[in-house]
């Protein structure tokens, strides 16, 4: 019911995106010392109604096992290799994860998630006010 209201849908999408991003950051940090690991990132955020036909209309590979290709990322936003920033280099073993960069990204995710949940509960209380007023 609430998903049909634009405000809730946007906050919902934003939260999904940020949780997916958090799991990508977790993967990068866990692999900070894995030889040859390339840092990953998510494609920039786009609300679902802005994507052509919506995310559900997209053709997706069927997956019957969690390890299947296409199911691993488990999100509506594609994984992309993180752009090689000028400040952060590659280690001699071919690993491109920079812990400092990941920490900054993580702080960013925390702020944005706080904003998204606050927006969601604010919209919820707006809705409650409207309902109460009708009594």
């Amino acid at each position: 019911m609430l998903e049909e209201i634009g405000l809730f849908q946007l906050a919902d999408d934003r939260m999904r995106y940020l949780t997916a991003q958090q799991s990508v950051i977790a993967r990068n940090i866990a692999n900070a010392d894995t030889p040859g690991y390339q840092a990953q990132d998510l494609a920039p955020f786009q609300p679902r109604n802005a994507q052509a036909g919506g995310a559900d209309a997209k053709l997706a590979l069927a997956s019957t096992e969690p390890g299947h290709f296409g199911a691993a990322s488990g999100s509506d936003w594609p994984l992309v290799p993180a752009p090689a920033a000028a400040n952060y280099g590659e280690k001699p073993d071919g690993n491109t994860v920079s812990l400092e960069e990941q920490m900054m990204k993580q702080a960013d995710v925390a702020n944005n998630y706080a904003l998204a949940t606050a927006a969601y509960s604010k919209s919820l209380s707006l809705m409650k006010t409207a309902i109460d007023f009708g009594k």
Binding site: M15, R16, L18, T19, A20, Q22, S23, I25, A26, R27, I29, A30, N31, A32, D33, T34, P35, Y37, A55, D56, P66, G67, A71, A72, G74, S75, D76, L99, Q102, M103, Q106, V109, A110, Y113, A114, T117, Y120, S121, L124, S125
Partner: protein, 146 residues
């Protein structure tokens, strides 16, 4: 579409927890290997001309957890360092060869210290991921209270 269900223990946040925990396990193993090396920094052979303790090394590799589907990191095989041994002149040592030289382990305390610091740093980074993931789950649950 992925379901956001932190309470039931599946979804991206649960995956993030699993991944960070695996990273901490791997780093803890690395610290264990460092402590083994440091403890054996002076372990020579017991017989004249024998080989002393060889430095151990651990490498990491990516894997997928079969139960949860989360991307995890795990330690690969523990290998030994092929670097040459240090040689010391000590004719009275039980492991000294005919010329009076003793082969000492190829462990360098400075390298082990650097390795330990790096493991500590990565461990803390993984810990901070767990902390933040927990707080995100908490914020999601806070919507219920609104």
């Amino acid at each position: 579409m992925t379901l956001l269900s932190p309470i039931t223990g599946s979804g991206p946040l649960a995956d993030a927890m699993e991944t960070a925990a695996s990273g901490m396990r791997a780093q803890a193993l690395r610290v264990r290997v460092v402590s083994e090396n440091l403890a054996n920094a002076e372990s020579t052979a017991a017989v004249p001309g024998g080989t002393p303790y060889q430095r151990k090394m651990v490498t990491f590799e990516q894997a997928i957890d079969r139960a949860t589907g989360a991307n995890i990191v795990q330690a690969g095989r523990i290998t030994t360092d092929k670097a040459p041994f240090h040689v010391a002149y000590d004719p009275s040592h039980p492991a000294a060869n005919a010329q009076g030289y003793v082969e000492m382990p190829n462990v360098s305390p400075a390298i082990e210290m650097a390795d330990m610091r790096e493991a500590e740093r990565s461990y803390e980074a993984n810990l901070s991921v767990i902390g933040q993931t927990r707080s995100m789950i908490g914020k999601t649950l806070d919507i219920l209270k609104a």
